[in-house]
Amino acid sequence: MPKIKMTSIKKKYDNKGEEVIHDFNLDIEENEFIVFVGPSGCGKSTTLRMIAGLESITSGELWMDGKLVNDVQAKDRDIAMVFQNYALFPHYNVYDNIAFGLKMKKYKRSFIKERVEQAAEILGLTKYLKRKPKDLSGGQRQRVALGRAIVRDAHIFLMDEPLSNLDAKLRIQMRKEIINLHRRLGTTTIYVTHDQTEAMTMASRIVVLNDGYIEQIGTPEQVYNNPQSKFVAEFMGSPPMNFLEGSVKGNQLMLDSGEVLGELSQSIGDVEKVDIGIRSENIDIAAHDTGINMTVNHVELMGADLHIHGNADGKEIVIRVVPSEKVAVNEQVSLRVNIDMVHLFDANTGKALFDREKVNA
Amino acid sequence: MIRLKKAGKLFIFLGIPMIPLIVFWFVPMIVSLWLSLTDWDYISPTFNYVGMDNYTYAFTSDDFYQALKNTVVFGVFTVVPTIIIGLLLAMLLREGLKGITFFRSLMFSPWITPMVAMSIVWAWIYEPDIGLLNQVLGWLHLPQPEWLHSSSSALWSIIIVTVWKNAGWAMLFYSDALQKIPRDLYEVSNLEGSSWWQKMRTVVIPLVSPTTLFLGIMLAIESIQAYDQIQVMTQGGPSGSTRTLLYMYYQMAFEQFNMGQATAISTIIVIITGILALTMFYASKRWVHY
């Protein structure tokens, strides 16, 4: 029995004509760390809030532990939620903020005290229990919000962009803390973010959303290595995937310019227009002329990698090479594409033309 | 089930707390409108429908027009000075001044006190022969009007009291509005070498205009409802010179028990208030800068 089961869930806001979530289906198992990722406005928060019971479900079914919960009120779903703006109670100190959920359940004072102190210990908040939220830093506030969630022993954690108000360094640190917390408690978690790096580094499974539709569900590796649509391919990964336009004829992959990239290892039949996706690490600078030329626009040293930005075949391209590579701006270089690692998408529908997992298997 | 629960909650949070509002506001408003079509006299259990007679009577009586005129004069000459004095006081008592709270408290204190008590004090100050005001005017060799005793000055005497009592209140709103004007706007006009009046016209007045609108509406509505000071100081006299529509309504309803005519006047008052609020509201679209 899945922990959470969502079938054909749809959402339409009263004050807005069109549907914002269309036919959402997802099974979440106990202990998973699910990340909903997608651009702003794609419906991540809406979905999360329906799970929390903060937003009504227009149609479809939401099951938790085998119980239909569509009509169960938020307060009775036994869920802990962490919000983007922390949503701490400004008139309560840290202790009372963390204790809030327990007090609502009317636990004994001694029990509450024990739980809160334990959580504060885990989160390094012991020194700050008497402070009001306004006297805390952003990171500390977010820890309080996490503390409020973990003391409850809720069976599901929901987190809506909890780190997006923090600066970059703190974000990376808190990411680790949240992952460790999940390892330690094992609570089923749904985490919403628009940041694909967060999704890649934290998730046990990623749900990529676009415009109210699920684009793909899979582990970070599956989503990265085997994107099922052009949207996912573009959205996941940094720097973003490069795209060239071309066609497939008799298993030959050709650019629109006429240049042949190579032969596909798997036959997919002839396709008139394909979008060819190539990750930056799957393109090299060739020593000889390959017929695919790029003019270098600029070069960025990103720590261990060198990113070379340029134009090839009328498209902007980024390639990732070792820093020892020597190129100059405005120089023309020849590119070599690893044909076994290209992703092909139907230019009309955006759907992947083959499933790499099946190929490799 | 969930519907029912929601309806129940709504009933508790909105339904029950609304009862007093319905009983003492909504229902009386409607009943009052209906009474204005009758000749009810409060005492007798029966009454007749008289159609628009009460309104016709009002619109053809000189007393009504005198009261209307008094109401307008009273309104205009309390609202405008209160707003101007309020703004000037607020500008004088600028943020950051030492002792600002003390001075603001002094200016505001008249608002706290009961109008009834203050009207009695002012009636005493206004006494023509022995009152403070005329004695001071005498020393300064200025004319000494009869104040509350003369029909030409009574209304103005009441206006002065009303402005005095409300100016501090208006000041508080302006203080807040002025504080929200960005400093650099003043600085820009300082750099351009604007005069005081230019600064007022180009920076202050436009930027406090939402406050002016709010105060204008509130004070105007309040001026229509003025009663205590009239009741204590003049009872509408001498010879009707301080009888406003509201005071006329009070006399008809609770002195003469002529409920039909009284409610007709009150309907007219409501309509005037409504028109006033709407006009101000739409006028605001033209010249208020939010």
Partner: protein, 280 residues
């Protein structure tokens, strides 16, 4: 140096102006107090005497013997307090429903309340009077209280304040197991407490100073509010010239509770009225 002197002088002039203006504004209050302490001879003296020869504190005692001002003040304070408490409870609930509950006709209800805010209360007095009479509450303090517990002003401002409470915070409370009453009591009210305090303060002052409506409801002396009792005293004693010092003493008595309140809480009035968002 020169400049400094000049600006010091300017500063001094400015404060002098403020002081004069301030004294002018409170002068009627000062005059009231001075008059209350004069003897009948002094109060009518021409040319006028600013200060009493000997402060006649006995005037207060005499005024209190002529009418029970202590009782009137108690009646006023008591009714105003009870009214404010009722207004607070009812308005909180209505404001909560208007801001946190979704239902058909929410805008309509709010607009009705908004319109009522603009309309003169006096227009309702004839039917309201009849209603109070039908309830058998004429000449009772309950009559004054019940007919005043609906406050559109309070509803309106609490709604404003409740709208300032971040949605996330309310949802967090909800997600952590709080029901509507808990959210109202533990979240909305504490987070709006300064607005609530200032609004209650203003309501209290208005109710204490209220005259016309209570003067219609209460008839017997034991139920007089201070404003009613004071005006009755004024009309009954005003014709006797030598009673003016007593009238002024009564006036002082009626103002003192509010002045004390104001002296203690003046910061709240001064800061609160401008910025609690009293402006729709």
């Amino acid at each position: 140096m020169q400049n400094n002197k000049k600006s010091n002088l300017k500063q001094f002039g400015f404060y002098l102006l403020l002081t004069i203006l301030g004294i002018l504004m409170v002068f009627p209050l000062i005059w009231m107090l001075l008059s209350a302490l004069k003897s009948p001879g002094e109060i009518f003296a021409v040319p006028l005497k600013w200060l009493p020869e000997v402060a006649q504190w006995g005037n207060f005692k005499e005024a209190l013997e002529l009418a029970p001002f202590g009782l009137y003040i108690f009646n006023s304070t008591f009714t105003a307090l009870v009214i404010v408490i009722f207004q607070f409870v009812l308005s909180c609930m209505i404001a909560y429903a208007l801001t946190q509950m979704k239902f058909k006709g929410r805008t309509l209800v709010f607009n009705l309340i908004l319109i009522t805010y603009m309309l003169p209360t006096e227009a309702t007095y004839v039917p309201s009077y009849t209603i109070v009479a039908k309830m058998g509450l004429l000449d009772t303090l309950s009559g004054v209280i019940i007919s005043n517990i609906a406050s559109v002003f309070t509803i309106f401002l609490l709604r404003q304040a409740f709208m300032q409470v971040p949605k996330d915070t309310i949802e967090a409370a909800r997600a952590y197991g709080a029901g509507d009453f808990t959210i109202l009591w533990k979240i909305m009210i504490p987070m709006s407490k300064s607005t609530i305090f200032v609004v209650s303060l203003i309501s209290f002052v208005k109710m204490y100073n209220n005259y016309l409506w209570p003067s219609l409801i209460v008839k017997s002396e034991k139920n007089y509010l201070i404003t009613v009792g004071l005006n009755k005293f004024f009309t009954s004693q005003g014709s006797f010239a030598d009673k003016w010092p007593l009238i002024m003493s009564a006036n002082v008595l009626s103002v003192i509770p509010l002045l004390i309140l104001f002296i203690i809480l003046h910061k709240w009035f001064i800061k609160g009225i401008g910025d609690t968002g009293l402006k729709g």
